[in-house]
Symmetry: none
Subunit: 416 residues, 2 copies
């Protein structure tokens, strides 16, 4: 038994809107443990929609449609489905009454075109829409096929799904098994290197383990199929522990935990504080740290020393060293870190100076060269050189630089 | 002749990621005037992917695949396509060399699993990936079928599409009628208010004008259908001019022009400089300004004064005023702006202090209350109060605050 998601709307084919409905339904089906193997997008076109229904009925038993339920002539999902199964549409007075009431509630009068929304296939149940005018249907045109239709407006669709579709699916005995996932996050190791380290896990049947990469980091998703969240957890936890042991410090957090959140939590526990000095990231490191509500407990602020004069004036960087070694150098990174730490009176000072490009690179100092400085208790100070390469673009170099700085502090806090 | 978009990845079926690749490709195909009638999402599964290829080849001539080109065993798009058409994979040494070079550039060693990415169907052309390791292919396995493959990482896919796929499609003589759009951007006016002002334009047949809203700003997209970009421009330009006249200062830029870019250009022209003092945005304003390469010509840096001690120590805010008026106040915003301007010796100083939430609000100072300070030449100083409301969330309040500050400076620079 499996489901298929069919999103109807020419606006999706024109790229006018993001198909967030497909993502929502996909997440919901996964949580219910109802497998789905295909999603299809098709325009507001009778013949093509019929062809899509033909294909879907040959490979899925639950067909979930979104879009095309509105009052205008190009909304034709419901009549096309009825026509495909050779069943007439009937006007349902309770829908007309509901629409008329909703219009009255907004001080408007129902238009004739809305009557169209009261036509549903003979034998179908109404799937009520509490917030909009277009109801959906739940319909079994054949014993082995169940059809759901939803309007394309995400907020209406979500509520109809939760309030009516989910209980219906569960009553049918579908969705007994759930799929539950945890995403483990890694920094400082590439996708292929990590995959090789955990290669024994990549072919497990349940839970499954799959790597994916994005924006400088790698994730491993552990997905378990089980009868309950608890049972899924019991499958995931031992694998998670083994993978964490293999990965060591390259593992930094799970699911929505960012490096900034992990570092923040470590500082909160150790009752220490942090300040930053940023050149090429221009404030991006501070922004990451302050995405977390409550970060003021440990993050005190910093200096954006984009111009060299600011490095000298606000951070106390030695102008002679700036001349001698250049702004993008280990020496300057260290002086920036020490400068911000001592001026803001924090436990740790973290600095970034680099060449984000696309211009400004030289043979000896190419685009992507970044120095990160870290100053800490007992006059501890160190710097680290990174070469992020020229091909990844300015935005990614800045993003990776800020996260590399956070990762450095994370490793330092965990290894003392 | 039509195209079909096929997105491969179990993460899409699990709802882990939004299918932004389908939207991007849909927009691009629309711009090129290449019709496409179906989008399909399928998991990393050989048999189901083959079935999808079977269906797609029966109804489309251009098949565009994204995802499944990585180095791990679950990445099987390329081999499945080759297998479907009964063509062997061949290892291409130029791909291996390219991957090895990219690894070397990042100071890493290529892993054996990456060799897999060098296997492409016999007879296929390499579609180069300038920023990642996974190349795509352009392949005509049959005279009437053209296949493109792209990695799932959006930034890599976009560049490969623009640099190689678009010229290829145009060379083939496809995409003769184009849809060309310009997006006008507005700050400081709501969607319905703007729609009312330009209501006469919203029913034009060609070009069409459509409003849409997002992240605190409103856009009007003007789209023309024509035989060439030039012909489309000729349709768009007069409408664009009329709308700009109607909107006045609420219009700030077009397409990819951000407020930070517009302000930067104004400062560049007037040969003036800017510094920032940020509390609740934590560096986000500096980050926006430095997204632009070359921003060091006018942006000198700033202070992230997240903790009150930093406002006093680095910006010279009066501690008694902090006590009396609170950190989120007009007085403190003005002192921050003056403080950063005088300490960094810039023409303008821009400050933000506010309550981004979700905690920290009070009856008199609710979440969403933000003060922006602006200090300029001849001891000019002013502050502005904003109430962004509690419902929009921390990230959006911070985003809107930083842009409101930039918009304030933009209006000041344009009205002197």
């Amino acid at each position: 038994m499996s489901a298929e998601i069919i999103c109807v709307g020419t606006e999706l084919l024109l790229g006018d809107i993001l198909n967030s409905n497909a993502q929502f339904l996909a997440q919901q089906l996964a949580q219910l443990g109802i497998p789905h193997y295909y999603q299809t997008v098709v325009g507001d076109n009778v013949e093509r929609l019929k062809q899509v229904i033909e294909i879907a009925t040959s490979r899925a038993q639950i067909l979930i449609f979104t879009g095309g339920l509105g009052p205008t002539p190009d909304d034709l999902t419901c009549e096309t489905i009825a026509d495909f199964f050779g069943v007439p549409l009937v006007e349902r007075p309770e829908i007309i009454e509901d629409i008329a009431q909703k219009f009255a509630g907004r001080g408007r009068v129902m238009t004739p075109s809305n009557r169209k929304q009261a036509l549903i296939p003979q034998g179908a149940e109404i799937l009520p829409n509490p917030t909009g005018t277009a109801p959906g249907i739940i319909w079994q045109p054949r014993p082995e096929i169940t059809i759901f239709t939803f309007p394309g407006v995400p907020s209406e669709m979500h509520r109809m799904w939760q309030e009516t579709a989910v209980p219906f699916l569960q009553n049918q005995g579908w969705g007994k098994e759930i799929i539950y996932s945890r995403s483990l996050r890694f920094w400082g190791i590439g996708e292929s290197a990590l995959a090789e380290k955990v290669t024994a896990y990549l072919n497990l049947p349940n839970p499954t383990v799959a790597p994916y990469a994005g924006k400088g980091e790698v994730r491993l998703r552990i997905s378990a199929k089980a009868s309950s969240e608890q049972a899924a957890e019991a499958l995931i936890t031992p694998i998670e522990k083994q993978i964490k042991d293999i990965a060591g410090l390259d593992y930094y957090g799970a699911d929505d935990e960012t490096l900034a959140a992990v570092v923040g939590q470590l500082l909160r526990v150790s009752k220490e504080t942090l300040s930053v000095a940023e050149s090429c990231t221009g404030g991006g490191l501070g922004q990451m740290l302050t995405e977390i509500s409550g970060s003021s407990d440990y993050f005190w602020g910093g200096v954006i020393s984009y111009d060299n004069s600011v490095k000298v004036r606000l951070l106390g960087v030695n102008p002679e060293d700036l001349d001698k070694f250049g702004a993008v150098s280990a020496t300057v990174a260290e002086q920036m870190a020490v400068g911000v730490k001592t001026r803001l009176l924090t436990t740790w000072g973290l600095s970034i100076t680099g060449i984000a490009g696309p211009t400004g690179g030289t043979d000896t100092k190419p685009v992507g060269l970044v120095y990160i400085g870290l100053a800490g208790p007992n006059d501890e100070v160190a710097s680290f050189e990174y070469r992020f390469g020229t091909m990844r673009g300015r935005a990614l170099i800045r993003h990776v630089s800020a996260n590399a700085a956070l990762d450095l502090l994370r490793r330092r806090l965990l290894t003392r």
